[in-house]
């Protein structure tokens, strides 16, 4: 399983895709980071007069991570699109199916490989935030909550993406499908106006919003974990079904 995860991670870096995604994500996040830093430096004199003023973490790190969530929503489908669909298209699935790996191990290997890549992205965003230590203090608790939130959010995106990738042998279709699913879940917040509506439970970004504010709620953590488990189980079942149907 770990060998498969390592292969998945490698596959992203032998092709230009991994490097390009990593570089562009970093460029976008660095840009946002610097823009927020500018804002902070401009309003800092006024802030110093306020009691209980928001610090650098609130003004720079929070919006940075909020944007990162949005950017990941767009990019994760591009990373997950190939995971199973490409194996089906290139007939390499037989290689995995005839090796002594259970279906669970195959799906988990895929998941862990992609998560390793996304951990790099999250770590880079975290490292950028840590540079603020050079010029002042930051709220470590808030930063940790944001990091945890972003990791859980990425895991949810990846799990959903892998499942969609099982449904087709066309990676592009898988990308569009995953994007539609994730955007659909994000749009719940905009389209459902009643704040009490139970539909909001399904909005991943709303759960991330709590992490973003520094609120660690077990309900949010549990939702993300459940989301991951449900989609990975669906993917495993789908592949079993594929083996039965032929």
């Amino acid at each position: 399983m770990l060998a498969l995860a390592a292969k998945e991670l490698r596959a992203l870096f032998v092709a230009p895709l991994g490097w390009v995604v990593l570089a562009l994500l970093q460029l976008i996040l660095a840009w946002l980071f610097l823009a927020r830093l500018d804002v902070f430096l401009q309003i800092q004199p006024q802030l110093s007069h306020l009691p209980n003023a928001p610090g650098a973490t609130e003004i720079i790190v929070m919006p940075l991570f909020a944007s990162a969530a949005g950017v990941l929503l767009m990019t994760v489908p591009l990373l997950t699109m190939r995971s199973i669909a490409e194996e089906l298209r290139q007939h390499t699935m037989a290689f995995l199916l005839s090796s002594p790996l259970s279906m669970t191990a195959i799906v988990l290997g895929k998941f862990l490989g992609l998560m390793a890549f996304l951990l790099i992205v999250v770590a880079l965003a975290g490292a950028m935030s840590l540079t603020l230590f050079a010029g002042g203090t930051i709220d470590a608790g808030l930063l940790l909550a944001n990091l945890l939130g972003l990791v859980l959010l990425s895991a949810s995106f990846v799990a959903a993406g892998i499942y969609i990738s099982c449904l087709t042998a066309q990676p592009v279709v898988a990308a569009i499908g995953a994007l539609a699913l994730l955007v659909g879940l994000a749009l719940i917040d905009f389209s459902v106006t009643d704040p009490q509506s139970p539909l909001h439970v399904f909005s991943l970004l709303r759960h991330f919003g709590n992490f973003n504010k520094g609120v660690l709620d077990t309900a949010d953590i549990a939702f993300c974990l459940l989301f991951v488990i449900v989609f990975l189980v669906l993917a495993i079942r789908r592949l079993h079904g594929e083996r039965l149907r032929g």
Partner: protein, 312 residues
């Protein structure tokens, strides 16, 4: 029926694709060190059977045991014993040959310390020693096929299943591949599917013929020839004798006049009228200038078996 020597035992395998039965009641046995040729026209169900034997496809009915391990009940344990080359070689085209074979070895649970050694050995056996650092996508079809075989044997499995391993190779490569398969037969059991009959004759110990999802024949190559001993003896004579002269010889079951002084003599099973024919030809001055055994080629047997079945 599960002796220690039995490496593959598939019982009454069936596979249904909706209304269409691709494979029906195929039973298959393979002993250690045996090379089984799996023969049949395209669409006979060879690949479907092989996919079921390797756990790539769940059978609709029947069971598979690999080295005594039930493939359905303990798929992971059973699959460590199998090496499989599907019809389309499953290759990660972005990787180099070394990287890919290392991955194959790791996934097949070769101990980390032995991976390098296993990869070297597989490359050497498949004639890939010079190509380790090349990216698979840049290799020719023949070399890609070799990489496909290498990934199937890198973990030294007890059972090697090759689906049309020589398709798309040039004659030299075909010869090398056959040698490799024969060598594999020393350490493992091999199942090899093909629709090329000489390949079966050249390599296999036993043959199983499939047609329309059924196993229509199973036995040794010699058995197969015996089954259709319609071959007989072919003689060519300058002075054509009367038909009855030849038919009257002891051991002769029938004579076909093929024209131009060429006769095909069918003999009774177990008897060999060659000497009698020769003696009579000299005695009567028939002017015999050719005498050859008209052994039924595998092709003939094959087409007879499959057509019979189609007619039935």
């Amino acid at each position: 029926m599960t002796g220690p020597d039995l490496t593959v035992f598939a019982e009454k395998l069936s596979r249904q694709y909706r209304a269409h039965a691709a494979v029906r009641d195929v039973t298959l046995e393979l002993r250690r060190g045996e090379i089984l040729g799996f023969l049949g026209p395209n669409g006979a169900g060879k690949s479907t059977t092989m996919r079921m034997l390797t756990g790539n496809l769940a059978p609709s009915a029947g069971s598979v045991r690999i080295c005594g391990i039930d493939l359905m009940a303990r798929p992971v344990a059973a699959k460590t014993q199998i090496g499989y080359l599907p019809e389309t070689p499953p290759l990660y085209r972005d990787l180099t040959v070394d990287e890919f074979l290392q991955l194959a070895a790791r996934l097949h649970r070769v101990a980390a310390a032995r991976v390098g050694q296993a990869v070297e050995r597989a490359k050497q056996r498949c004639g890939l020693s010079e190509t380790g650092r090349r990216i698979i996508a840049t290799l020719s079809k023949g070399y890609q096929q070799r990489v496909g075989i290498a990934q199937a044997i890198v973990h030294e499995p007890k059972v090697v299943i090759l689906d049309e391993p020589t398709v798309g190779l040039d004659p030299n490569q075909i010869r090398e591949t056959r040698e490799l398969i024969r060598e594999l037969g020393n350490s493992a059991s091999v199942i090899l599917s093909t629709h090329i009959l000489p390949e079966v004759e050249a390599v296999c110990d036993r043959v199983q013929i499939m047609h329309r999802g059924h196993a229509v024949f199973s036995g040794s190559i010699a058995n197969l020839k015996q089954l259709r001993s319609a071959g007989g003896i072919e003689i060519a004579l300058r002075a054509s004798p009367a038909h009855a002269d030849i038919a009257g010889l002891p051991g002769v079951a029938g004579v076909d006049d093929l024209g131009d002084g060429v006769f095909r003599i069918r003999h009774e099973p177990g008897s060999d009228p060659t000497d009698a024919i020769l003696a009579r030809a000299v005695e009567r001055q028939w002017g015999l200038f050719r005498l050859a055994s008209a052994e039924t080629s595998l092709e003939q047997v094959f087409s007879e078996l499959t057509q019979e079945d189609a007619a039935a």
